[in-house]
Subunit: 573 residues, 2 copies
């Protein structure tokens, strides 16, 4: 902060200088004392100068609404919104979210540091504050081919950036708990820079949790039970209560939050799609759910603001107090949290009327490089009809391993049985042209006839495709190549609909409203034309089937993967 700015801020606070803006008649939620304060809020040069009696160049009459600090999403993958950072900002700000901590590990799996740089560069002048964690696990495991490998020496090239708060979610739990040298290199890098390390520790307990925490990992957003939440807090870890689109843990975790441990709790979305955000909201939705559950509104607000700021060392925000950024939200009351107005660094946020797509730099334009691909690659020969099948759990990203008996033809090839909800699932490597095509079987997806394919397949983002027949599956992959990445639906060789994702095969620059309309339409087609039931997200569900760090059975481009034993397994039992 420049000396002139310090002097100006002090002058305005002392009521000698004139504020840019004074917000009057608000009920000010003070997250420090837990009280509702009365008074004018004086703002100068983007910061709060003081609370008291002030008059300024402009006045905003809050008419008795509640003034809250801008909300903070502690952990988000922007890529999961299918939109680029400028569109993401437009999507979140009306919900009162003014700061996010983003882990761009999706695009980094595709484009490496080029992808990281793109996210940082395209975030620079946005009204949404976007901080970054450097993806720690690219690829998420050694059991897949991704578009890039980020080891400590690569990460070191970006750790000095001021908007980089540390190392992103350490999904390599085995490597961390095992003190694997490559993991230790990354931990040491973050510590050297005195930066933070985010966690990802589903199902980790006891000695293993001690080891994970001792490694310096200071958050976890993968808790699903109150006891997991509490065990992490007891080990000094912050817990991020997640309410995404596919993963909704908030209500399951809230019974574990107490007035004594809430200081270690904050909110995150992790992966949240435009539809959820547009229809339900963002962190404002967490607030509604939490207060409706019975959490004290002040504690809920602290989790949405101050605790997140404390967790990530963002001491310039997260509260309404002198010197802090004037990121502010006016809501109607502390139950509905209907967002009326949002101020970003003291400026009333107004969405621009016209939408202009931001250009896509060539370094992140979608590339699809598949080798040796043809329809016969989907032929599945089995030595036994008793097989492991990936069982989808509606509304979750974890899967079960189901044991099923399937039909085989006389040459031992798998044959689709329309009476059983079992489909073929394939991952086609798309970054290096290895020609890898891995096959699996899936149940619970519900597709009746046709194929769905996408270039979004966490975290390596190869092509994933599911279908009841090889011809449609192959047509879907070919359509995806033609489209230049995205999502496609095919039936009887016909492309039913598609969403193009020209940024790394993950995002579009056409905005969240476009994405939402398009996906709504495509969901309708998936339901009506492909028969995928309403309780299954036809695209996101597929996108998580290749993620080998989430239990229990997944498939990567290298084969069927048992997350529990952290090794490949055969389809045959």
């Amino acid at each position: 902060m420049k000396k002139d700015a310090i002097k100006q801020l002090i002058d305005v606070a002392a009521a000698r200088g004139e504020p840019d803006l004074v917000i009057k008649s608000a009920q000010i939620v003070d997250v420090f004392s837990g009280k509702i304060l009365e008074g004018d809020v004086a703002i100068i040069d983007g910061r709060i100068a003081g609370i008291g009696s002030y008059s300024g160049k402009k006045t905003f009459d809050a008419k008795g609404a509640f003034l809250l600090p801008g909300f903070i999403d502690g952990h988000v993958h922007i890529e999961s919104s299918y939109t680029d950072p400028p569109s993401f900002a437009r999507l979140l700000l009306p919900c009162g979210t003014t700061t996010v901590i983003a882990d761009p590990h999706e695009i980094c799996n595709v484009s490496g540091l080029d992808g990281f740089d793109y996210m940082v560069e395209s975030s620079l002048s946005l009204p949404l504050s976007i901080f970054f964690m450097l993806p720690s696990c690219v690829p998420s495991s050694p059991f897949e081919n991704s578009g890039a490998v980020l080891l400590a020496d690569s990460l070191a090239k970006r750790m000095d950036l001021p908007q980089v708060l540390g190392l992103g979610e350490m999904m390599d739990m085995e490597g961390t708990i095992g003190a694997d040298p490559a993991v230790v290199d990354k931990l040491a890098l973050a510590k050297k820079w005195r930066k933070l390390i985010d966690g990802h520790a589903p199902g980790v307990h006891g000695h293993n949790l001690n080891a994970y925490a001792a490694a310096g990992i200071h958050t976890d957003h993968e808790c699903t039970t109150p006891s997991e939440l509490q065990e992490r807090i007891e080990r000094g870890m912050y817990v991020l209560l997640r309410e995404g689109s596919a993963t909704r843990d908030l209500l399951n975790l809230l019974p574990g939050v107490t007035p004594a441990n809430a200081h270690m709790c904050l909110f995150c979305t992790d992966d949240r799609q435009p539809q959820s955000i547009l229809e339900e909201g963002h962190i404002d939705n967490h607030l509604r759910l939490a207060v409706d559950f019975g959490l004290d509104p002040i504690i809920a607000i602290r989790m949405a603001t101050l605790h997140a700021a404390n967790c990530y060392g963002l001491h310039d925000r997260g509260a309404i107090a002198p010197g802090r950024r004037a990121d502010l939200v006016l809501v109607n009351n502390l139950k509905e949290f209907a967002v009326q107005n949002v101020f970003v660094a003291g400026q009333l946020y107004k969405e621009e009327q016209s939408f202009k797509p931001t250009p896509i730099p060539s370094k992140v334009a979608t590339k699809i490089t598949i080798g040796d691909f043809h329809r016969d690659r989907f032929k599945l020969r089995l030595t036994s009809p008793q097989v492991r099948v990936i069982e989808i759990i509606a509304g979750a990203v974890v899967t079960n391993m189901a044991k099923k008996e399937v039909l085989l033809d006389n040459k031992g090839y798998y044959r689709h049985d329309p009476s059983q909800d079992i489909l073929k699932l394939a991952v086609v490597e798309r970054h290096k042209g290895t020609g890898n095509v891995a096959l699996a079987l899936i149940t619970g997806y519900g597709l009746k006839h046709g194929a769905v394919a996408t270039t979004i397949a966490h975290d390596a983002h190869n092509i994933i495709v599911a279908g009841d027949n090889d011809a449609d599956m192959a047509a879907a992959v070919e359509s995806l190549v033609t489209l230049g990445g995205g999502i496609v639906m095919v039936r009887d060789g016909e492309l039913l609909d598609s969403l193009a994702l020209p940024i790394a095969g993950l995002m579009t620059n056409k905005g969240a409203l476009y994405v939402n309309e398009k996906l709504k339409n495509m969901h309708q087609i998936a339901l009506e034309e492909l028969g995928i039931p309403e309780n299954i997200d036809p695209f996101m569900t597929l996108s998580f089937m290749a993620l080998p760090v989430i239990p229990h059975l997944k498939v990567t481009d290298m084969g069927l993967f048992d997350v529990d034993s952290f090794s490949f397994v055969s389809l045959e039992l």
Copy 2:
């Protein structure tokens, strides 16, 4: 943290490696969850590896005692213990205090950066962790002569030190609220280094408090009422609840502490003498008082540990959790907090049997340079018998301005009246030989006959002397010069007793027990021979009479000073 150390810590946490020490059968106070946990605490290389089931090279049986994180004193002037840092560490560790944040502004007023360097250097290898704030107000005001002036350019030379957490208590409230350029220079320096700024804001409210907080000042340890405490927390400032020797604010402030705002509260001693520490304790004493008052023990312990760590960004300590420093305290229960054992970085603390004084570097050896001094300098000519008199308030460092009528001789010189408790008080400049001698009158000190003088006179540490006659006052000053700094008592020309303070006239290297015995004896002499009543500390009281930043009436080497109007005033009304 080196990679080998990270790996070793993880290995031990995961129960693959062997801990150096395992503490068993303790009731572990978890400041994160607010719960009492059971389990073994595994320690390796000075850090906590995990809580659970462990066996190690050594075992310590806690026998059911409560295991707490080491206590943190958020703000202390080590010089006020009269002992050097090595002796201070010996004094504090048995009380369970393992970390202090020290503001060495006393020695810096005498010796400038040489004094600062001495404090840092003599703290380097101690078992007590000593962090430093760079004194922001040397001298405390422009209304006195000190041994050094530290402007921003001087402070900049030490701001990079890892043990420097920021800028010390900003006592120049007027300069801060007024955005004085020299103050703004210092604020900007701390902000540039992303370091903290401690506050000192007695009586600051409203717009002024907004301005003070907007300046980036993030603590205050000068609150005396619950409403002051609450107002500061509402402005985002941490409040340090002080229990010193002369200033005891804790019980006055505790009614303002609530479960909702306690996260912004921590403890400090500020100025605490060996006697108080040896007889009552240190931060353990805060804990006893707070719990006895009715504060929840867990909240009290958090204030003594985690909240202080959070306030000062010391995230490597303040809690019992994997990866944190194994600074630990075993107490008998959560009411008496009788300290049974202290572990410093995993080592059981045992006081060394033999005491070896640490050598005194010549750069801080006491120097006394007084110019043009003789007994007649104490003659006080008044133009009116109606005078302003400094009124001592027993147990406080603030004074009142009393209006009194005194006796004058026929030439207009003040004459001592044995029937009135009014004495002459003088400040003799001792750093630069200016020859400044300023006179004042004092009531409430109670001395009957003789003089007391000391080189401890906050904050400029000139010589301050009080007496009923000029001859004894002059003899006291001369004794002090001969002694090489410290405290002397004189009656009828005879040196009754003295404490030598060969480090900057403020500290000795002879240890706290020596100081305590010596001072006890001197207090007895003050009571019996000089008639100073028991409720008045004969030396500390005097030491605060020259501090022009504490209300209301004080005297510096430049004259009688009205703190309220922040200007010199005449003795005559």
